[in-house]
């Protein structure tokens, strides 16, 4: 039969009918739907396990529990065929062990199971796109266009560094080497400090912090050192002078746990004193909207009421000196009516708050501003701290205490050769110590020092001065003048970008390190971060890096740091805790432990060592060296015709600011669109002020400051004090992180440091400003 058109048609029809009787059509429809399931990746399955460690993304030192998934590999190799794109998305490379979750460790005394958004996002640091995977060497000289890098081995990198350090030392200028680190807490920092002292440089400088002022104040008023901490859990009346208690100040999660308990007990009063309606102010029982920078006056005004009405704790005051002078000062200059004019708080409110504060025991006055990453002025601290003396809260339960030191075994004596001694005798480049001598870094002077050419080599360890120093951009220029810059960091950041050598250090989930005494927590504590897994095998422990350097340097430097590795040092140090028989680990008294190894194992199992504070009424001197805490007005807070407004920086717990890591991707979901819109940062302005400037919600504007200008958008916020502009810290990065770079502006660039006349420390949490509509 010939196959004509009609015949073929019939054949086709027959075929069609037949096909319906086969699995083909039905199967294909089904497969097409299952195919769409492949548009999402399939995480490799496997048994899970949990390990405890400690978070060190902020000074909070929370205990964390990581969930690890053991990858049952193999399956991925036999995935069916699909579109390339889907293969990439579907067939995820098998990894032997991966961390999938960070949660709070319920056993840990600091956070008791809670966790903050940054801590919960920690794995995005571990697996971050911004990790530095090998040591890097700059290929083009600084300032010549975009930074370009060449991957080098650790040996090469360390040879270059030692070579440079040796060269400078041999030239007899060890003091021209400076090291910047974020803070001096913990053994790694101490080790680095020791390294440089052995090397012969006094210039190990920490980034600014509120604690600087406290350290000076404490040494003046109480003649002690150490870290201030507040026993808020037992305090019935907390008078916070601007500390962002619920927004990342001190140990954020610990504070929030305590706050939760307050809400249940319902017998605690929190009074928040700060210019603008912050979250803490809103959650507080009372918010006193004080004019920016007049907190000291307010404190003295309250002191005046307490003293004149005789509400103060006589036994406590009896333990203090200089009360008469203090009293005289209060009576002459700080009666509530006058203070009311200065601070903008009604006199009766001042009086009532003061009375409530005085009669409720225990009560505590907290000095602070925001998260506490900015130094303030001494007078402010002294005035506020004095209040604690008046109500007998110094060293008392529910009051303010000085954290006890963790009883690590002490460092062996430092061996210093002639070069080192000569170097150490040189003045510090940051001009440490103002009118009075004290041991606090003054990082704000670094810019000038670097400019002056006094520094031949700069080592930056896990700090980001190019982003987070006042006039950040100016610091970057200054750093360009330094012949040799080394940066130790786990992620690329602004400072690393302007370094010659970048050394990749292990993240807190990849290294064994002590987290010593969570900030502001009344009891001493110590738990370990643990090398849970190594996502970046090349990354090294900074402690080990400096120990290796020391060996390479040899001589007295080498002999001052004899440990094979940081773990050895840490273990030796922990031995001291065992020897002291102080404190408890988990639910066990250290004194009950049989051997230091038990303690060591406990710590390595993620347990926390801690020791309750020793309470006991303490005293202070109200007028150290005849210096009464008279309010020292900061000049930039005076409005001028050129700059009628005040720019005040604030912090947002979801915008990592000067933490060990920058804002992680998950957190960007938490940033309100009234803070950040696409690439624009929104400043908070009172509607009335905005109206006067003809500004509407979302309008583009320029913030003009003496130190520079920022282009922003405006968000109208009824909670803002008129004529004050609120700007968030932590945005405006240029660190190559696609989730962060170019989003918003960096407020640090315009903040204007004013030196405290007494301490020489910078007072720089704000600046004069003008808001211009564009």
């Amino acid at each position: 039969m010939k196959l004509d058109r009609r015949g073929f048609l019939k054949f086709a029809v027959g075929g069609a009918i037949g096909t319906l009787a086969t699995p083909i059509p039905w199967d294909m429809i089904d497969e097409s739907a299952k195919f769409t399931d492949l548009w999402a990746p399939e995480p490799a399955k496997g048994p899970s396990s949990f390990v405890h460690s400690t978070c060190r993304l902020c000074p909070g030192g929370c205990g964390i529990t990581l969930r690890l998934v053991e990858d049952k590999s193999g399956r991925d190799e036999w995935r069916g065929w699909h579109h390339k794109e889907f293969i990439d998305r579907r067939r995820l490379p098998a990894v032997p062990l991966r961390a999938v979750k960070i949660a709070g460790n319920p056993e840990h005394p600091i956070n008791q199971g809670g966790i903050c958004p940054l801590g919960a996002a920690g794995l995005q640091l571990l697996y971050g796109t911004n990790r530095i995977t090998t040591p890097l060497k700059r290929t083009k000289p600084r300032g010549e266009g975009e930074a370009a890098w060449e991957k080098i081995t650790w040996d090469e990198a360390l040879n270059i560094v030692t070579g440079k350090l040796k060269e400078i030392r041999e030239a007899g200028n060890p003091h021209t080497v400076a090291c910047v680190l974020d803070n001096k807490k913990g053994l790694t920092a101490e080790l680095i400090d020791r390294f440089f002292r052995a090397y012969g440089s006094p210039n190990v400088i920490a980034m600014p912090s509120q604690e600087d002022v406290e350290t000076v104040g404490l040494s003046l008023m109480q003649g002690t050192g150490g870290h201030l901490a507040y026993d808020m859990e037992n305090s019935k009346y907390v008078l916070s002078f601007g500390a962002a208690l619920l927004e990342g100040w001190g140990a954020p999660v610990h504070n929030m746990i305590v706050f939760g308990k307050w809400q249940e007990a319902n017998e605690h009063t929190l009074v928040q004193i700060e210019p603008n309606c912050s979250i803490t102010a809103s959650k507080a029982d009372k918010w006193l909207a004080v004019k920016p920078g007049t907190e000291a006056a307010l404190a003295l005004g309250m002191a005046n009421v307490i003293v004149t009405e005789g509400l103060y704790d006589h036994s406590s005051v009896a333990r203090c000196q200089g009360f008469e002078g203090f009293k005289a000062l209060l009576e002459s200059e700080y009666d509530p009516r006058k203070v009311s004019e200065i601070t903008g708080i009604p006199a009766n409110v001042i009086a009532n708050t003061a009375r409530a504060f005085a009669v409720t025991r225990p009560a505590v006055a907290v000095y602070g501003r925001g998260q506490g990453v900015m130094s303030g002025n001494l007078a402010e601290f002294m005035s506020i701290y004095s209040l604690n003396a008046l109500v007998g809260s110094i060293g008392a339960k529910g009051g303010v205490v000085v954290q006890r030191e963790v009883p690590f075994s002490s460092w062996p004596a430092l061996a210093t050769d002639a070069v080192a001694q000569q170097g150490l005798s040189q003045p510090r480049i940051d001009g440490e110590g103002g009118e009075i001598k004290h041991g606090v870094s003054m990082a704000h002077n670094l810019t000038a020092a670097l400019k002056s050419g006094a520094v031949n080599a700069l080592v930056v360890h896990e700090a980001n001065p190019c982003y987070a120093l006042p006039g950040a951009n100016k610091f970057e220029e200054a750093a360009a003048k330094v012949p040799f810059v080394v940066a130790l960091t786990s992620c690329m950041n602004e400072t690393a970008r302007s370094a010659d050598i970048i050394l990749p250090v292990a993240s807190y989930l990849e290294r064994l390190e002590d987290v010593t005494s969570a900030a502001r927590v009344p009891y001493a504590s110590m738990s370990l971060t643990r090398p849970v897994l190594a996502n970046v095998p090349e990354a090294r422990h900074p402690g080990d890096v400096f120990l290796t350097l020391a060996k390479a340097m040899g001589g007295s430097v080498g002999s001052s740091l004899p440990w094979d590795n940081f773990e050895a040092l840490l273990k030796e140090k922990v031995g001291g805790i065992f020897a002291s028989r102080r404190g408890r680990i988990g639910d066990q008294e250290v004194a009950m432990l049989g051997s230091p190894d038990e303690l060591w194992e406990g710590l390595n199992a993620g347990k926390c060592w801690y020791e309750d504070p020793v309470f006991g009424g303490g005293g202070l001197t109200f007028s150290p060296q005849g210096r009464t805490p008279r309010l020292e007005p900061v000049s930039w807070m005076k409005a001028s015709r050129e700059f009628p407004m005040l720019l005040v920086a604030y912090e947002n717990i979801n915008i990592a600011n000067r933490r060990a890591v920058d804002t992680l991707p998950y957190l960007t979901k938490n940033i309100d669109n009234i803070v950040l819109q696409k690439h624009d940062l929104l400043v908070r302005v009172n509607p009335e002020t905005a109206g006067r400037l003809r500004l509407l919600e979302g309008d583009a504007a320029t913030v003009q400051c003496p130190a520079g200008r920022l282009s922003v958008r405006v968000h109208m916020d009824v909670g803002m004090m008129p004529d004050v502009i609120g700007i968030p810290l932590g945005l405006g990065h240029s660190n190559d992180d696609p989730f962060l770079t170019g989003k918003g502006v960096n407020a640090y660039e315009v903040l204007e440091p004013e030196l405290d006349p007494v301490t020489g420390l910078a007072v720089w949490w704000g600046t004069r400003a003008k808001l211009i509509k564009v």
Partner: protein, 258 residues
């Protein structure tokens, strides 16, 4: 959906969020993101395209300076107990009410992405996947194998971490138990909350913490007038916050911030 109530079950899971404790830190949101395999886009500032199963609303009493106050309203899926608006509208049964647990499901491999449920939900708890899910190189390592990632073109929402309930049940089974103990199954957000504002548990278990809390005089729910019977309760001692929870005649609508 009245048939829900005819089923005799010993479990009905719910959540209580104490707004007096909540400081809006967003730890719950992040814990949820990492527990439930969410990807992040480079720009998340467009909140109408930003998937957040646990969204923290920021509200204000609107009072002028210096009497202003802000508060926070974490909003998971309400797992509406009555006439669940989304369940009845789905044309392909991609979402259902589980009479055993009271949890409202969403099945990503069944959903056709018509978004009828998105419109039907007054709580904006449902999100559509406008983009293909993409993780930056290496980030996929933190994907949770207990939770299926969603493909482009389907709707997703909070599941009360149902996979945690499944795992808890498995553990109970191998230990020869049928029922779960209080606290054995909690959501990622409740686990994370630093102020302990979120309590999760079985409302039918009279001994459970949640059963006691929902009886509190401070307790209320969102948009109760709609009659959806949410299983998420809120606690607040502030009247202005309680007022913001539902529409009422002759009250001006303010308070939204973000």
């Amino acid at each position: 959906m009245s048939e829900h109530h005819e089923v005799a079950s010993k479990e009905k899971y719910g959540m209580v969020i104490d707004l007096d404790k909540c400081t809006g830190c967003g730890a719950c949101t992040v814990a949820c993101l990492s527990e439930n395999n969410h990807y992040v886009r480079e720009d998340e500032s467009d909140k109408l395209h930003s998937v957040t199963w646990m969204k923290v609303y920021k509200v204000t009493n609107g009072a002028p300076f210096p009497n202003t106050k802000v508060a926070f309203l974490p909003r998971p899926c309400m797992h509406c107990d009555h006439h669940t608006p989304c369940v009845s509208v789905c044309p392909v049964m991609a979402t259902d009410y589980n009479p055993l647990t009271g949890i409202v499901s969403q099945i990503y491999t069944r959903c056709i992405g018509c978004r009828y449920c998105v419109g039907a939900c007054p709580y904006h708890a449902r999100y559509f996947n406008w983009w293909d899910p993409v993780w930056p190189e290496g980030m996929h390592k933190l994907l949770n194998p207990d939770m299926s990632p969603r493909m482009r073109g389907v709707v997703e929402k909070c599941s009360f971490c149902n996979h945690r309930q499944q795992k808890a049940k498995d553990k109970a089974y191998v230990e020869g138990r049928k029922e779960l103990k209080d606290g054995e199954y909690v959501t990622a957000c409740a686990e994370a909350c630093p102020t302990r504002a979120i309590t999760f548990g079985n409302m039918k278990d009279p001994e459970s913490a949640i059963a006691k809390l929902i009886k509190s005089p401070r307790a209320f729910r969102l948009l109760e007038k709609l009659g959806t019977e949410p299983k998420v309760y809120y606690l607040s001692s502030e009247s202005w916050i309680r007022e913001l929870a539902d529409n009422a005649l002759g009250r001006k609508k303010t308070g939204g911030l973000a």
